[in-house]
Symmetry: C2
Subunit: 227 residues, 2 copies
Amino acid sequence: MFTQTATRTFSRAANNSPARAQIPGGSFFDSVTLMGAAMPYGRDAEIYGENEPADYVYRVISGAVRTYKVLGDGRRQIGAFYLPGDIFGLEAGEEHSFSAEAISDAKILVIKRTALMALAERESAVAHQLWSVTGQELRRVQDHILLLIKTAKERVGSFLLEMAKRRPSGNDVELPMSRQDIADYLGLTIETVSRTLTELENSASIKIASARHIVLRDRRALALLNR
Amino acid sequence: MFTQTATRTFSRAANNSPARAQIPGGSFFDSVTLMGAAMPYGRDAEIYGENEPADYVYRVISGAVRTYKVLGDGRRQIGAFYLPGDIFGLEAGEEHSFSAEAISDAKILVIKRTALMALAERESAVAHQLWSVTGQELRRVQDHILLLIKTAKERVGSFLLEMAKRRPSGNDVELPMSRQDIADYLGLTIETVSRTLTELENSASIKIASARHIVLRDRRALALLNR
DNA sequence: CGTACCATTGACGACGGTCAAAAAACGTGG
DNA sequence: CCACGTTTTTTGACCGTCGTCAATGGTACG
């Protein structure tokens, strides 16, 4: 299965407008927001590459981000999607283990790692929070593994519930990513994702208002796929 | 697919022989070994359960350990295997996210979490090492995800190479776990694992000396499965 | 309004799961 | 050390889910 992600590399966004935005999802990052700057990234722009030195930590202000790895034969696995408020790119080691790209046009808060580390050195509370962020990431990845052993219907259903939970807006789920992104996240093909969505629609579990706008019609039925 | 792990719960091993053993794989745990005690666990004995308070951190002295989750319908997913020297059960949060069992008779060093936390509070180096352990675990789980999107042959091949790397003894791989454990780790069935192993033997990539003793005959061929 | 790109649908086949049975391996007690 | 019963592993036959290849339909943007 091939998945040539369009490598139309956009500008690397080298501007430092110091926009200090208000973003959802409070965290310790709120208190160190002043240490960083908001940077704009275009659609599909690379934020960092696998194995690059992890000199910065990132937080999504607006838009969405995907992290991924590409296997030798071109198969792509998306590790996670990051939405406004989410922190990503924080590594306990020296290098990024995944690559990161903007899914849509996005504003990203960028913070120097050394600044955080220096603060953690003195404030054990900050050190604990850094650890905690990695711990949450670990949990997320562990849940992801559980997704990957399920059937296609279960994966898609769980995915929709996950997205609904992360962007609470009633039963409406706005998907910032393409079918290909979803497929590469769930370990499926676009065809299977598409077919499964229409299947869920036919069974009245969801309604596909448009390709990227899903309405959850029967959460109970979807939740059954999540066990 | 069902996977009823034999729930013949052995004794919970409630003895505190203070055996301070020499174990491979040096780490910061060496310096805090005196804070804990070596405990014996019988085959299939539970070390801790999912959602239990994570009051202890563990290190394998001898034997092997598996961590796992069981889905609603009985499917079991093994999160990791831990071999002598490996640390497990360290959580950034308050509870264990997986259950842990001894695969074979095992000796496990058990350390109070509060002791580590108190030390981390004062020594930022210790705090950094705790974070680092979680970070390594994160990497391991991320690699695990990559395994789960591969074909059966690739999964089994990669698994053998992983085990060989972790217990270096030439080309001989001694497997402490059953086919069922391997299957639940790789997201396959025992039948597929078994069939794939004989297939690898027929293609002269490995030799199955006995069920739990594999000899790597063609690492190059196996490595091709790992890309 | 036209042209890419993206999503959906269809036909077909392969990989791995399921069910079943045989063969090894293991442990226990005589 | 061997005999027997249990567990684990292997092998076989068959089937279903999902991947592949291909074509059609839809949507966004210049």
